[in-house]
Amino acid sequence: MHELSIALNVLDIAEQTMNEHPESELVAIHIRLGPMSGVVCEALESAFTIARQQTLYPEVELVIEETQLLIDCPQCRKHQMAISINDLRCRTCGTISGKIVGGRELEIAALEVRDEQLDDTLSRSTDADSKTE
């Protein structure tokens, strides 16, 4: 169960990034997770709901994009999907490859933020629009 450490790392990085955006509110953290990352999605999700309570963002959501396991197939001579993490044969031709080119991802892709000021401006302009109508 290292997912709690991972969740804390995610929140740490998010907090550091948010320091550069003091005008924004953090809504969600988008991460990319490969099947060969060593991290289990469900375990990370539950760890995250615990870990976020100790931060400035107790409500922040975690959005996980699961990436595919890709190998460089020597037979097809291109990147192909592997059968599974415990069977690194090419899904198309069945040739085994030790060269994994995708599926180890364990990264934060983006932070989803809401800008108070921008929202204010927008709602004001919407008000103005409705008045014009």
Partner: protein, 218 residues
């Protein structure tokens, strides 16, 4: 209304940075660093004790050993005569690069040919953490079943060699060597596989020679 701020950062960036620094330091010191991972009870400590004794006759060696709560392993390893330090991880199920860096500080000025890192007994969590090692060796014993590699593909895939341990028990448990090799091959094609018994010394010489050979490559 929301917008996306692109981050594109490795979640374990902090660990990766320390691991990279360690790897650089090890290269400068010409230290060959072998980390050992396995499930609990597969014979890491026994093999390491024997390894330290035997390789210690030819090289300057030291070991750090991770354990959740006790320092029994360090005591056992110290009997080999090698320098040993314990990392007690508490509730943490794996070692991280920073823990290794802290643990080996007293040896920073010491000339060492080999440094062994025994990870916490766990085949899942250690796979995500680079420790700056030159070589990651994954162990599994004949009593654990031939399909272990396919049950824990990530750790086997991140390893550089497999050592099958307790081969003195192979017959007793009807260990199917071909099946075990095929299982490794499916998750990490081409990975070297060695077989040892730390109890009877079978395969120990090959293992020690193989390590020495890897050391030559640095």
């Amino acid at each position: 209304m929301t917008r996306l701020v692109e981050v594109r950062t490795q979640i374990l960036k902090q660990n990766d940075v320390v691991a990279r620094e360690l790897r650089k330091q090890f290269a400068e010191q010409r230290r060959f660093v072998v980390s050992m991972v396995s499930s609990p009870g597969s014979g890491k400590t026994e093999l390491l004790q024997k390894t330290l004794e035997q390789i210690g006759q030819r090289y300057r060696v030291a070991a750090v050993v991770g354990d959740l709560a006790t320092d029994n392993d360090a005591d056992r390893l110290a009997r080999s005569g090698a320098m040993v330090r314990q990392i007690t991880t508490g509730t943490l199920c794996h070692l991280e690069a920073e823990m290794v860096r802290e643990a080996i500080k007293p040896w920073n000025e010491q000339p060492l040919d080999f440094l062994f890192i025994e990870n916490v007994g766990n085949l899942v969590c250690p796979s995500s953490y680079d420790l700056g090692e030159s070589l990651r060796v994954v162990l599994f014993s004949v009593t654990e079943g031939e399909d272990k590699p396919r049950k824990y593909p990530t750790i086997f895939n991140t390893a550089d060699a497999t050592v099958i341990t307790k081969i003195d028990l192979a017959d007793a448990v009807e260990f199917d060597e071909a099946a075990a090799r095929a299982s490794v091959e499916r998750v990490r094609p081409g990975m070297p596989i060695l077989q040892v018994s730390a109890k009877t010394d079978e395969g120990m010489l090959e293992w020690i020679d193989w390590l020495a050979e890897q050391h030559q490559k640095i």
